[in-house]
Symmetry: C2
Subunit: 310 residues, 2 copies
Amino acid sequence: MPKKGSKGLGKKEGSTAGDGLALRKLLRVPGGKPMDLAAHDSREMPAGPRDRQAGLAATTDLATPLADLQERLWAASTAGDRRRVLLVLQGMDTSGKGGTVKHVIGLFNPSGCRVHAFKAPTPRELRHPFLRRIKKALPQAGELGIFDRSLPHARLRSRGGTPIEDVLIARVRALAPAAEIERRYDEINRFEKALTGDGVTVIKCFLHISYDEQRDRLLKRLDRPDKHWKFNVSDIDERALRPAYQQAYELALERCSTPHAPWYVVPADRKWYRNWAVSRLLLEHLSELDPRYPKADFDVEEARRRLLEQ
Amino acid sequence: MPKKGSKGLGKKEGSTAGDGLALRKLLRVPGGKPMDLAAHDSREMPAGPRDRQAGLAATTDLATPLADLQERLWAASTAGDRRRVLLVLQGMDTSGKGGTVKHVIGLFNPSGCRVHAFKAPTPRELRHPFLRRIKKALPQAGELGIFDRSLPHARLRSRGGTPIEDVLIARVRALAPAAEIERRYDEINRFEKALTGDGVTVIKCFLHISYDEQRDRLLKRLDRPDKHWKFNVSDIDERALRPAYQQAYELALERCSTPHAPWYVVPADRKWYRNWAVSRLLLEHLSELDPRYPKADFDVEEARRRLLEQ
């Protein structure tokens, strides 16, 4: 378990989770209360590094403790520990889900990571309960799973990708009746509660960017021919729906931020801060899990003697 | 396509694939000829960096071009390019398959990587044709797939993991009759030929370590309590079977190194050299694929104008 003695923000934020900093307390969405995303500054830095250089260094500092914790989680699973971690990344177009996977998940050993980018459901998937394809993509014991809602909303012709999207898109596009959407919130909460009961630590991050930052990022994609493939003209139409999406997100965050599986709003206008914050959230959760290397179940001296004889 | 003008070994080995170095020609197993692994020095450095420091630097230098090529492969897939890459890692216990994934695949964007560690087949899988579970784990268009034969032989109670293992273990342990094993070689070759016809570049690496290096690595695992979980006492018994395994590997390499899907023998006693060599092989293949960013299929100026109006 991380040391919890010091309550103040540690001086070495980012280096260990035992420094008293609890970013998750600062970013956590209090469930059940009305949620106002406009009141969340997407350039806010509630804790941790204050500028880009310090942010990059702090994230780099997290690489070793994160990889160490991941190895311990994996090692423990070989001795029957069923625990695993699921990172859910959500956010508007250009909010940086892909960049987060590249820079944050890139700090981990790829062997133990299972990245799943949800695309629009196939006709076959649409015939099944909406959580079914989620279940199939869950991390196994010892793994770090990542759900990246990958496609821009516009390309999702009908229902979306991750559970929250199945309520979001359905709401904004009026694809499902309100009662059905309410029923889905409850279903998501029950599902996530069952997951946590089954050893899954669920970390849900909403990458929060401003309307202006989104325009800047879209314009940058237009400036670079090697980024044109990421651009979809319908992204522009979707921006016009931003108030509706924002409302839908607010409701989903409010309804589905639960004690067992809270949502975190990550200020994401600054990419380096976003990367540090998500890395830090992972560190805090993994430190709390405190997975242990299994003890040898064989005679070490005997094994050494036999090897030396070969 | 990489420049092929210079035939000599480039001075900046490792920085681009256009430097005239063709490591794959040097490491490639000539199929159909008798194969003698004992004649391959597992400490050999047929090209590239000559010492650890230069090796680490050369591998780091490959990170940017590899990530760039991977992004281009992925981007091309969004425009219908079906091509993808499959890296197969094989080798005796402690040969460094896991370390290769960590250090080489760690250079790539995790989003486009699909690592599959094959475990012993389930009873259900055993009832199906032996290539079935391989097909299910193949990379999708634009992806880099990695097959890591993950479990030590000893833990594979019956048939093994990857196709080659289904012949290896079967041969060493006499689990399948010789005729059945011969039939499987042919089936593997036909399967891999179909894969390459379907846009899959297959890169098969045999990580070659010496008997002494293997003992040293096993002893090191015993020295460190945080490595005991990787140790299995039956690994010691398996070492006694090394001549049989080596023969089985030789036959498999000889029978399954084909023009469309050759095997490469990677000298793997030096971890830094192994990592550089596998990275370099990936670079050479990806450079040859030369994936391109798709051109914009929309009016860039019009999109810019509309965005600026929002």
